[in-house]
């Protein structure tokens, strides 16, 4: 087993899950039903759930609260915005403390009560601190505080804790199942694959055959759902993917996944490209130059100021490609890049990839089912079936192999089949 010196998705998971859940919290505040005029503070339910799922350190917990407080300040016209900046961090800190020590992980009968207790306490602290600060700063009358504000806090805490209890267990099941989804000892076996420099390489196989894992392995990613490598080596040119410093890896290989939404993390197109480059410490004037260059290559010029959320699916996927292109890697790996894109967008993406391959000499590796877009290209192809690599070589040869051995024959384009069968006089 190669032991863990490498990128692990899960290292950043506490950040990504909190981000997404807080975003849901923000919109729930807008759209959720309210009970007698009091709406639930979904932000608290959401970050408590995130903290219960990830059990982060106290420092991280405090930070999560701070983020939630700042977000609340930025998105709502709160009466006392400063109060959020104190109440949320305090509550999230306590939440992380309770979650980290498993202090309230108690059962009555078969029901685990941790979520309902933790979320009740967290919401109560947050709300309590908030209304107390409001009362003191605005010198509100005591009866208002005692008979209206505090009861409201209790009610919100009670409702929030019910919601959290209902939500947490299935969420935890998915969260943890994700980590151990494949109980098979190996997802891939005995893969020997050489991708020639500058080639257009297609990997096909049914869903679940191991395509994604293969692609991510090439990039040195070890998502938390697979354990590690055994007696394996991966090289890009001279670069040893499994042994070298992983920080250098993103200069060698760029990865585009099917779910474009998950890969876009900033508000505008310009910021998205800049994000990768800022991470590498590039100077701002170089970033601007590079950015103009990749936006032009991907046909997104003049869209720099557009909000990411306003783009179509095809445009979003092209933006992901542009952000990866900005890193100037010689190799580009794409996992079903058109799976969530309409046919017009799909055609544009494939002609872009073809151009990147032909004109800019990028080595392109794509996992794909829909081979009509690539049939007329000069490409190499490999087919994976049940964790084994069955064949790799020229696309034509690969089709021949799949046809004759009935390996995922459904994917072979009709045009190729007819051509072949007519040649062989079968039809």
């Amino acid at each position: 087993m190669v032991k863990d010196k490498h990128y692990k998705g899960s290292d950043l998971r506490w950040i990504t899950i909190t981000t997404l859940l807080l975003a849901i919290g923000v919109i729930l505040r807008i759209i959720s039903p309210n009970v007698g005029g009091i709406s639930l503070n979904w932000n608290i339910v959401m970050y408590s759930t995130a903290i219960l799922l990830c059990r982060p350190s106290l420092r991280q917990g405090f930070g999560i609260g701070l983020v939630s407080g700042i977000i609340a300040t930025m998105t709502s016209k709160a009466a006392l915005p400063y109060a959020n900046l104190i109440s949320d961090p305090a509550a999230a800190f306590v939440c992380a403390l309770l979650a980290g020590t498993h202090f309230l992980d108690i059962k009555i009968g078969r029901v685990r009560l941790e979520p309902v207790l933790v979320i009740f306490i967290t919401t109560f602290i947050s709300g309590g601190v908030f209304v107390t600060l409001t009362k003191v700063i605005l010198s509100l009358p005591m009866p208002l505080y005692l008979y209206a504000m505090m009861p409201a806090v209790l009610l919100v805490a009670a409702l929030g804790s019910i919601a959290g209890q209902l939500l947490y267990f299935p969420a935890a099941k998915i969260f943890n199942d994700d980590n151990t989804l494949n109980k098979k000892p190996f997802i891939l076996h005995d893969i020997n694959l050489t991708v020639p420099k500058g080639s257009f390489f297609i990997i096909t196989g049914v869903n679940g055959s191991g395509k994604t894992t293969l692609l991510l392995s090439m990039a040195g990613v070890r998502p938390s759902y697979f354990g590690g490598f055994e007696n394996s080596s991966i090289h890009i040119g001279e670069f040893d993917v499994l042994k070298e410093n992983p920080a250098l890896l993103n200069r060698k290989i760029g990865v585009v996944m099917a779910d474009y939404e998950a890969q876009l993390v900033t508000e505008t197109v310009d910021d998205e490209i800049a994000f990768s480059l800022e991470n590498t410490g590039m100077a701002p004037q170089d970033i601007i130059k590079k950015r103009n260059d990749v936006l032009k290559k991907t046909g997104l010029e003049n869209m720099g100021k557009r909000k990411v959320a306003s783009l179509s699916g095809g445009q979003k996927q092209r933006l992901v490609i542009a952000a990866v292109l900005a890193m100037d890697t010689p190799v580009l790996v794409l996992d079903e890049p058109v799976a969530a894109v309409d046919p017009e967008g799909a055609k544009e993406i494939y002609s872009l990839l073809y151009k990147l391959n032909k004109e800019y000499g990028k080595t392109i590796i794509v996992a794909e089912h829909d081979l009509k877009y690539v049939l007329d290209m000069k490409a190499q192809m490999a087919v994976i079936d049940k964790a084994y690599l069955k064949f790799a070589g020229e696309m034509d040869e690969c089709f021949k192999y799949m046809y004759e051995n009935k390996v995922y024959p459904e994917v072979i384009p009709l045009r190729w089949k007819i051509r072949w069968e007519m040649e062989k006089n079968i039809c």
Partner: protein, 229 residues
Amino acid sequence: MTANNDMTGFAALTKLLMALTVSVASLCTTDLYALGILIILELICAVIMGGGKTLWKGIGALVIFAVILAFIQLIFSTPLFLSLGSAYKMFIMAVSLLILVATTPTQTITASLVKQCRLPYDYAFMITAVLRFVPDLLKESKEVRQAQACRGFHPSKNPVRRIVDYMMILKPMVFKAISRSENMAISLSLRGFADKGKRTFMSSTKLHTSDYTVLLLNLCICVAAVKYF
């Protein structure tokens, strides 16, 4: 939320410090004239910073809220000047930060928080990323609601039942977020997010002479207002 470009040229930090000064000043006095001057000062700032529609809409909403707040206190038989005073204070503090967020792009605010206020980058990233996902998730929540309506879902009239029913909308979204978070984490690490230490920021956070001038002016007016009334 932000929509506009940084058209004023004032740094995010300047706006933040001005907001803090004016808020602290409002806490130091109970005099209605002093508070009135602070409100006028803020409104002038709002004009100079040029927040556009978002800002003025927000201010409008806060005016209504301030009136309600004063009214509630009167019901609890608080003297008029105290009721008005706390309504003024609430308005001052809420507007001070509203000016900052309505006139500055999120990226600039977070860059300033990281570079000048020592917020670790992980958290600043989370702030911008949350705001990026809000519109897309809003669309998604609509889809979910429609999909569930096609299976007979409609919110109940009983308020507690409504919260339970609401799980129908919430659960698919949270589940999707959980599986998405894995891909997002992989993508982040591949884009060099975890390489700490050498990050640059495109947004300029530097303070110029104009920044120092308005900061000083703002401070003087605040001190004077608190001191002489």
